[in-house]
Subunit: 350 residues, 4 copies
Amino acid sequence: MSNRDAGFGVDTGPEPAAVRVGLIGCGRIGRMHADIITDDVPGLVLTAVADVVSEASAGVAAATGARASSIEELLAADDVDAVAICSSTDTHVDLVVAAAQAGKAIFCEKPVSLDLAQVDRAVAAVQAAQVPFMIGFNRRFDPGHKSVRDCVAEGGIGDLHVLRITSRDPAPPPPEYVAVSGGIFLDMAIHDFDMVRYVVASDVVEVFARGAVRVDPRIGEAGDVDTAMIMLTHADGTLTSIDLSREAVYGYDQRVEAFGSGGMAVSDNPARHAGWRRTKDATTGEPIPWFFLDRYMESYRAEWRAFHTYLTDGGASPSGIEDARATTAVALAAGRSLREGRPVRVEELG
Amino acid sequence: MSNRDAGFGVDTGPEPAAVRVGLIGCGRIGRMHADIITDDVPGLVLTAVADVVSEASAGVAAATGARASSIEELLAADDVDAVAICSSTDTHVDLVVAAAQAGKAIFCEKPVSLDLAQVDRAVAAVQAAQVPFMIGFNRRFDPGHKSVRDCVAEGGIGDLHVLRITSRDPAPPPPEYVAVSGGIFLDMAIHDFDMVRYVVASDVVEVFARGAVRVDPRIGEAGDVDTAMIMLTHADGTLTSIDLSREAVYGYDQRVEAFGSGGMAVSDNPARHAGWRRTKDATTGEPIPWFFLDRYMESYRAEWRAFHTYLTDGGASPSGIEDARATTAVALAAGRSLREGRPVRVEELG
Amino acid sequence: MSNRDAGFGVDTGPEPAAVRVGLIGCGRIGRMHADIITDDVPGLVLTAVADVVSEASAGVAAATGARASSIEELLAADDVDAVAICSSTDTHVDLVVAAAQAGKAIFCEKPVSLDLAQVDRAVAAVQAAQVPFMIGFNRRFDPGHKSVRDCVAEGGIGDLHVLRITSRDPAPPPPEYVAVSGGIFLDMAIHDFDMVRYVVASDVVEVFARGAVRVDPRIGEAGDVDTAMIMLTHADGTLTSIDLSREAVYGYDQRVEAFGSGGMAVSDNPARHAGWRRTKDATTGEPIPWFFLDRYMESYRAEWRAFHTYLTDGGASPSGIEDARATTAVALAAGRSLREGRPVRVEELG
Amino acid sequence: MSNRDAGFGVDTGPEPAAVRVGLIGCGRIGRMHADIITDDVPGLVLTAVADVVSEASAGVAAATGARASSIEELLAADDVDAVAICSSTDTHVDLVVAAAQAGKAIFCEKPVSLDLAQVDRAVAAVQAAQVPFMIGFNRRFDPGHKSVRDCVAEGGIGDLHVLRITSRDPAPPPPEYVAVSGGIFLDMAIHDFDMVRYVVASDVVEVFARGAVRVDPRIGEAGDVDTAMIMLTHADGTLTSIDLSREAVYGYDQRVEAFGSGGMAVSDNPARHAGWRRTKDATTGEPIPWFFLDRYMESYRAEWRAFHTYLTDGGASPSGIEDARATTAVALAAGRSLREGRPVRVEELG
């Protein structure tokens, strides 16, 4: 469906005003968000796009009908109600602060920052300006993962005792990316730490992590591990296990399992489709999705619908600035645990 | 993704010319096709829309950026390369004939007609004009069903011996619809007869059908059955079974199973997502999709991509006018078999 | 567990008397029954075994501790409460009649006879003697199939509308066996016709069958088909489809699906175990069981437990002489339908 | 099948001599082993049984045909080739030493001892006497778990990177049992530590464990936890996660997943049977087995077949005395980690 179905009736009558979005950062993920805002979410209008590379913003503008803009102009524009920050991670905090000071609602891609002090600067700006803020933890909007969280929240499995998460990418990133990524915990597991926060009501108090270089020695040379396991202890005794790999040759393996006094709720990998075969030699099913755009496209759409609802109906952020901070703290604790070979209390991170 | 990504570069340079579509019929299915053409298929441009109800075409025009047009103007327009016929069934043949005579490529929603002589009139017009023609048997483009067909075509299960199809709607149509629908075989099973044709290389030679009114007595009063079973015998001895119901309370049940000398290929129902639960009382999975827009949206998109490829790359139609005729003949034979209580040879239909 | 756990306390006190079984026919299936009676069913004792080949009965006697006997002596023996008839099909009716006249309870392997008049002779003898009779339709005791039947019987899927059965052997029998087997409907589908009877309360009134020789031309030369499809119409409008093959290269494919106004109940094939794998090339599960002893061993044990309960607690036979007759009639109607190319009413068989 | 099929031809001719077993300990697990030896494993003969409670051994003797014996007589008997030690854990080491000194082959139920010095005493006795020894880690013989191990051993998933085990009992033991059990790691996880050893070629070097009392406060009062998570680091960098619970209300949850450079091998829970249902309200499958006798009976049978093969064909023990020692050391390290809140090196245990 085109969002033009929703009427474009901005400010002109009894229709509820659409939310006008200005998007900063026109790389792969920014283009995806621009397409979703344009085509898939009634009530959102993409009015302006900006990128430090002007060709990039021009391309998105041509494709979506938004105007190409400078970042400064976009942040100041009257026809921008909300800013979508999709630029590189090192620019996030400054842009959050500037957008907050401009009184804009903010959607920020994860992570806010690799540095906790920087995250705190963003937290302070958002809280001072009292602007709506949502971080792009899209997996909260995956229908399978959401079914696990909802089951837990509704008491469907009683008291939660154990959470298990498997998070495996289909192929490792280039070593040069690894070197600037912040490491496997901040770059990759940050989504999983948020999933923990999403499902488990009780805070993480201790982190124990182990890791190894098993996939690509150049990842080790870049100072990181490519295979890791993390155990989290929560305040109420709930225990979480996360296993991470930079390379699952069979696809993008993303599973969540919650176990409690009343049973178990699971989010499994979907198959690409429901066809399968039996022959003399084998019983064979479809592979799982290969990468995040296959696996999580529906979650990205739902994320923007949730952002729209949050801005128009109010209520708590679906994934707020405190979630951004808490997941960063756990990721940093995991890194320290790995380096120091001991369980690390989250409160040590300050 | 928006089709604006594809550039709109019609006729202006080295880019391949886009295919410009004029769409007739702006009801539910027409609006869906209009949205897909506009948003989802690079290389297709919706230029004009028409409907006997001018408000309907005006709405689609506003939503898509196409111009509202009369049917006559649309069929004659220079900026219409292909006509999408999405109006009511009784108008299909006249529109096919007119579009063929106008030299347009044709996409026609199923069925062409409930009457074989009328279908033949459309066949003649298309063959005389030698225009590209594709009928909207969208299930051919469902990835699960396609995996069965591809497996059979590639010899993955050896010689085909048996085909089984289950086709169940989630809820019966209103009795007034049933009365004008052409009956369960022409209205509902026509898709299944096409699936048979898609998967099985050997022609159907005999049809035996049985049916009953089990769901809603008003369907019986309207002269139809709501539950049926059909056995097809193919020229090479392959046997097909189709079971039909107007009401599966658990959702839209759509399965295909091909069995042969080398094994079995199956297209099962997908679940809505891959979450599931175990409690003391039950092990519970997700339901299947509820209706055709949930279940087959991806197939509709793939159908339009296939239409674009067919028009630009040539080759045989993905589902041609002969498929439209053959499925109608089988459907009519099924009706005769049910009425007369005997197996009916397809050749009896002429 | 050994049945010796049950105490062997025959006739010696407050313990309930064990049922003493004499078994006739010590071929493969007879030996299996002898082992089950001896080892697996508390309350049954195998006291005597007989076979026209004395080495065969001697072997079973040595293995089980029963005495080797002649058929005549066994039928007259005081320590035989029940006779298990596991000899070749052509001897069944005479042995049923003799056992009934001797006042013994009877367990008879399927089928009673390939000839309806002969079945009627057995029916008459059993009814005249008023002895307990159970025919070995073991699939009724398969826990998956039983779950379908129980669900239907308890109204779990509302009114039954459609039954679908797939019945495929892993490998064809030798042509010489086919020649004396009675044909695919009496030899193989008889189990499926009983499954129909087990699940569907309404009687079969019409049979339509089609078949072909697709697996082995020598089966055709022996006068039979190896691939067949059968459509059954029941008195209340319920429709059943059965597809049969003598060769599924992937194993013993045995499925039942009941569909009704309230939903669907399915008995799928079990995998050999619950291990599976994902690699770059494939997602692979375990094959299904290869043959009936793998697939149905638990059902054979449950069958004997049911026989014991029937004899000790009374009530209706779990699968009585009328089931034996009715399934034979349907099988004969299927053969006639195939030969004459028309639907055949069961009442035509008399 | 009865083992009498195998002929009982002990020492009397060209048949291979049967292995004669004397069984000590006639409680629940001892009776199960006695039945399996008697009924299910050709080549094994149960000749003598003993228990400190003479009624218990008399009962097993009556049920199996073995003679009731004293422990001393059994250990000295000429017609006992192998001793099965199924008595309470605190008697295992003394019986292993005595049986070894008597030159008998030994099958010992797990665990050998809760104390590493005691295990070492058993190791020394077995090594000195050079008698065959097998410990009853039956899960190695579960076909699903075995398929994971075989896949790993054959390189089917490349280099192993991660192992995940879920081990949940259906209901907690009584608190009085917990008090003498040795705790969750020695009593329950010992099987899982052996599964680790079975699947992963590289030794465990470090153990980190966390646990909580979530199921029953009386378990906490008895000094134990009922919910635990363990992370194992192997010498080659492989990482293992085990999650344990004393109560999964939905049944006996036993899963193993191995992940490596070439893919993933999984042993899932089997359902009780392959029946399932869809209704308006739910899609429902069968529960998993409730307890170890349902789930693992086939593994117990296979264990005894493996013991027989080991004794008659030679080769390495399917689960030797070194496996018994290594799993005890890991279990003790887990206990120390839990108490001291730090990762513990296995070598600390000595």
